[in-house]
């Protein structure tokens, strides 16, 4: 039975890292995980995943903020029917301001919370293949594959310009 190995390659530039991801996708080998010190459109494009679903949750939270604003303003106005300055009890224009602020508050907090949930942070254990330089000045591609495929993966990574390749048992 063949064993699984982990190849961790580091890259100096995001372009070469993106090329490596594309080359590995074309070769249909193993599963890869990418590390980068900054958000990179080229890498995200090479990975080819759809946009994060965080936006759907933020939309929902924004709508619930508006509804909460309406419930608070209309509900509390009806609770104590105090006419002030001859204005209607339910005065829509000023209530819109409260709804707007709560939309932003709910949407913003949900953006952070859903990001944390989906990105799995806080993380208490390092992700397999992580190197400290991947938070600083290097891009990393970590491939988990069969031992038979490892040489081919290594060749691909070298061909696209990997600076360093390390092989470990997965």
């Amino acid at each position: 039975m063949s064993e699984t190995v982990e190849l961790a390659a580091s890259f100096v530039a995001e372009e070469t890292c993106a090329h490596a991801i594309e080359a590995l996708r074309e070769a249909h080998v193993g599963q890869s995980r990418i590390f980068s010190p900054m958000p990179c459109h080229k890498i995200q494009h090479a990975i080819g995943l759809p946009p994060s679903p965080v936006r759907a949750y933020v939309l929902g939270a924004g709508i619930s903020g508006v509804i909460t604003g309406l419930l608070i303003t209309i509900g509390t106005s009806w609770e104590w029917n105090l006419v002030a300055g001859g204005k209607p009890i339910v005065s829509w224009p000023p209530f819109i301001i409260i709804c707007f602020e709560l939309m932003i508050l709910f949407g913003g907090t949900t953006a952070l919370l859903t990001f944390m949930l989906m990105a799995r942070v806080p993380a208490f254990e390092p992700t397999a293949g992580y190197r400290s330089r991947f938070s600083g000045d290097r891009f990393g591609v970590v491939v988990v594959c069969d031992e038979q495929q490892a040489d081919m993966v290594e060749t691909i990574l070298k061909q696209v310009g990997a600076e360093e390749i390390m092989r470990d048992a997965a």
Binding site: P39, T76, L112, M118, P122, Y130, F134, G136
Partner: protein, 451 residues
Amino acid sequence: MAAALPQEVAPSFDEVDRHVLQAFMETPGLAYWAWIGFCFTLVGIGVALWTRQIYEGLGVTGLRQPVMWAVYITNFVFWVGIAHSGTLISAILYLFRTRWRTGVYRAAETMTLFAVLTAGLCPLMHLGRVWFFYWLLPYPNERYLQPDFRSPLVWDAFAVSTYLTISALFLFMGLIPDVANAREHARGWRRIFYAILSLGWQGTDSQWRHFSMAYLLMAGLATPLVLSVHSVVSWDFAMAQLPGWHSTIFAPYFVAGAIFSGVAMVITLLVPMRRLLHLEDVVTPWHFDNLAKVVLLTSLIVTYSYITESFMAWYTGDPIERMTFQMRYFGPYGWLFWLMCFCNCIAPLALFSPRIRLNLKALWVISIFVNIGMWTERFVIIAGSLATNFEPSQWSFFGPSITEIMITVGTFGWFVGLFSLFARFLPIVSMTELKEGIGWLRQALRGQLYE
């Protein structure tokens, strides 16, 4: 030893990290702690006087009928205004992918958070019975009493607390990748501190995918928020029927003034900070050149607003409105009005000169003028308009007491002290975003973007 990089590609990611990390990872010296001690001594004096004010009542201030809003509310509007440039630079310019924001946005965003924290304290200082501050918020109570949502003061409570929350979350979120980077270089207690603050971030593709989307949406939400908050603050005045306050141009006028004063404060803080923390290679004259252009643009908008406001006072034909503005120009506070015009309208015109925009000493002096001018503007609008209300027999002019003066000085100590603490223990320049725009930074360092 790694070979030196060719000059044409410097600085590398590694060099960016080195410049920024050294600014906050080195142990601060005695001078730094003396400065922090000085700032918080001012805070201590302010707190002592506030405590006395709470004990003895608002009689220790200079507040007398008809001027019942003066220094504390001026401070509130001033500090909320200061906060605005941070969100402008971090959120609005992020959405527009403005190139020069990368070197300065973290400092501006940090300034936003501490300015809103300071602003939030000012209305509390203004309360006679500060322990009832929560009456502004809706909560279940035995008498079914609720805040009046038709009142601009209640809008303010919602707007400012939302702004504080969102600006804190936005700052925290942007810090995560940078603090993770710091974690990898730190030792001892700093490593533990940065590890907790970075939430174990490792920059995987999945983490960046969700981060980028959440950050973009946060910026998208913060953009209308920043415009709404100072509009709401302006409606505290504009919704009242007082001559000098009751004006439809207040919202855009206040927003422009807020950005004007905020960007000036960014310059005031960044010029010495850049030198003291040796950040010359990441915060370049190109960044200051662009900040100065924003100051110039907003100065022109503010000048236009002053002219419009005065024109409308004349054009209405309302004798009370006309008298208010006549008193504003030539009354007991007239010298403050002309000081404000010099600081906000005349002094920034020097920024039309590229030489002055790139001369950091001159730029710093102009930014101080703008800070003084914008505080004065708020005082003239608030206290000046109240002093000359509808009934000349009630007219009375306000003079601040030592309590108000020292509490105001204390707010500056609080703001600058917190900012100084942040700058020495957390990344005050975003390494992540500098790397994203490394090409522009390289061009800026070679002077290609502004010469």
